[in-house]
């Protein structure tokens, strides 16, 4: 198990390094550079050249790459060209918001998905099953950014119930205690519901499928033959065994979830890593793009690793089989 884990961690490290390298060279190969964005259209060629020299952008790409990697590894992530702030503080402000949003929606969408999938598998072929299938397929198909817009339209513009932009109200700094918590929750509500709803479709479909695959297995028949109640068989025998593929999927769906979060953050002006990334790409803010992609790749790899460990914990056979 430990060797397997070490191998996975090493592979994950390779993925992160690969993402870093790929991003670096893609950025340098593409037309346009941050200096043009920084100095604007009125800048004279010699001003542009001087600024490029100051930022080290006039050196050859491999030299820049080695310099960047050695600084990044030592924890010096540079200064945002567009914002003038250290990249670490830009990302440091952003990642808790993303982790809060993505983590909570992951939890909610899987809990809901497992519940819905289990009900569907238990009552296979019934009206309930069909109705829930229609709902989950639709949720699965809805693009997150559009669902977000529709929720804003209904809950912000029509019902005037919930705020649609940002993670806190303009006056949040002056609020204290419960009022502040409530303000935060109200701002979290719409982005969280959006991400959760689009996630529930996929997870419920998967859970239903995984449980139906198991329904014809002998241990399920045995459990029924023992005279256990149908719900007990579903929950303690079928669902319990269906959880392993579900946890693996959870790890595999992290990149997708993060992708969804990028767009949902853009819709709700949620101050997370996704929004930082979108803005930085548009401004050709090299240091921020590099750090944001590396950090997000790292988060995804770490999530996959965690899912692996969880799956092995749920199904001890995995560790023994491949150790």
């Amino acid at each position: 198990m430990l060797t397997r884990l070490a191998a996975r961690a090493l592979a994950g490290f390779g993925v992160v390094a690969g993402v870093m390298t790929l991003t670096f060279f893609a950025l340098r190969l593409a037309p346009g550079d941050p200096v043009e964005h920084l100095l604007g259209p009125a800048a004279r060629p010699e001003q542009l050249a001087a600024q490029r020299r100051a930022l080290g952008l006039d050196r050859s790409v491999p030299v820049q790459y080695t310099a960047w990697v050695s600084r990044f590894v030592r924890g010096d992530w540079g200064i945002s060209i567009a914002k003038g702030r250290p990249v670490r503080s830009v990302l440091g402000d952003a990642w808790p918001a993303t982790v809060r949003l993505v983590g909570l929606s992951l939890l909610l969408s899987y809990l809901l998905g497992i519940a819905i999938g289990a009900v569907q598998a238990h009552r296979r072929g019934s009206r309930t099953d069909t109705a829930l299938s229609v709902i989950t397929v639709t949720l699965f198909a809805i693009p997150g950014f559009w669902l977000g817009l529709m929720l804003i339209m209904v809950f912000t513009y029509w019902a005037r119930l919930l705020p649609a932009f940002g993670a806190a109200g303009l006056d949040a700094d002056y609020l204290t205690g419960w009022v502040r918590v409530v303000d935060g929750l109200r701002h979290l509500a719409l982005p969280l519901v959006t991400l959760t709803l689009i996630g529930v479709g996929g997870s419920a479909r998967f859970v239903r499928g995984a449980m139906l695959d198991l329904a014809s297995q002998q241990f399920v028949t045995t459990a029924h033959a023992k005279g256990l109640s149908p719900w007990r068989v579903t929950l303690r025998h079928t669902l319990r065994n269906a959880l392993t593929p579900v946890v693996t999927l959870l790890g595999l769906s992290l990149p997708a979830l993060f992708s969804g979060a990028v767009l949902v953050e853009a819709v709700f002006a949620w101050p997370g890593v996704g929004r930082v990334l979108v803005e930085a790409v548009q401004a050709r803010d090299y240091p921020v793009v590099m750090a944001a992609t590396t950090v997000s790749a790292g988060l995804v790899v770490a999530g996959n690793l965690l899912a692996d460990v969880l799956a092995a914990w749920l199904d001890p056979r995995i560790g023994h089989r491949e150790a």
Partner: protein, 288 residues
């Protein structure tokens, strides 16, 4: 085929897709005029659905901020969105089948390298790649197709790899080899045709996925550029007028959901019809 249409999901998906494709192909017949014409903007903008403008033209889905008919743009946008989805999936299928087949049937270090590449690409957050590629070069429809194609082949490669590996051990393949068929011929004529079921399913799901991603990119302004209508940039243009003209963003979104649902249902039905019991583990993962 019959089994496919007897399945209500398959019938619904097929009919829906056929309707949308028919509308897109016959766009000039089911709409009036050019999707980009702007008449008297002030007089014709933001007309509610089912209203008639001063010139007597009927707008079933209303008009947008430039007085353009939303239905017309929706239908012409279907051409763009469906076209992008189809072509992107074609690219990713070609890549995925080629890489998966080589990795599954090849020997030596090549399959390992290809599998490593696939796992690597699979672990990347797709949106990061899309953002990078789409934002760094000047956005265009062709770029969107290429970018979606290049970032969508991994799951197909994984599927094909698994199928090819399993099929390569079957007696009929040994038979073909014993008769003296060259490896490429064995692969192309004997193995691949038998490995296509999951590929068809993946293609159906992939088209829906690609259409949704095109919309996402266009929504961020990195995809199909206005005035060419695509469902994504129509939603984006409706974002700013959500309060006074909610139909501008609602209509293309509903169309998008309908098409993706149709693709998903059709994919499910095809899988169940072609392989009633097998490979049911290959459930669709959430859209990437």
């Amino acid at each position: 085929m019959k089994r496919l249409l007897r399945d209500r999901r398959g019938a619904f998906g097929a009919v829906m897709l056929a309707l949308v494709i028919a509308c897109a192909v016959a766009a000039p017949l089911v709409t009036r005029g050019d999707p980009n014409t702007q008449g008297d903007i002030v007089a014709t903008r933001f007309l509610a659905p089912l209203s008639t403008d001063a010139a007597g033209a009927f707008h079933a889905l209303g008009t947008d901020r430039f007085g353009r008919d939303v239905w017309t743009r929706l239908v012409y946008g279907a051409r763009v969105s469906l076209g992008v989805g189809l072509l992107a999936v074609l690219i990713s299928l070609t890549l995925g089948v080629a890489i998966g087949a080589l990795a599954g049937y090849g020997r030596g270090p090549v399959p390992l390298a290809l599998l490593g590449l696939t796992d690597f690409a699979l672990a990347l957050p797709r949106i990061v790649l899309l953002l990078l590629l789409a934002a760094l070069w000047r956005p265009s429809t062709a770029l969107v197709i290429v970018v979606l194609g290049l970032t969508g082949w991994m799951s197909v490669a994984r599927l094909v790899h698994g199928e090819v590996r399993a099929l390569a051990a079957r007696p009929f393949v040994d038979g073909a080899v014993a008769v003296g068929a060259r490896p490429l011929r064995v692969l192309a004529r004997h193995i691949l045709p038998n490995a296509l079921t999951p590929v068809i399913v993946a293609a159906a799901l992939g088209i829906g996925n690609a259409i949704a991603l095109e919309a996402s990119l266009s929504y961020l302004g990195l995809g199909v550029q206005p005035p060419t209508p695509s469902w994504g940039n129509m939603i984006a243009s409706g974002r700013d007028v959500l309060v006074n003209a909610p139909w501008v963003a609602t209509a293309p979104g509903l169309a998008l959901v309908l098409v993706v649902v149709a693709c998903t249902l059709l994919g499910d039905a095809v899988r169940d019809a072609l392989e009633p019991s097998g490979f049911s583990h290959q459930r669709s993962a959430p859209p990437a």
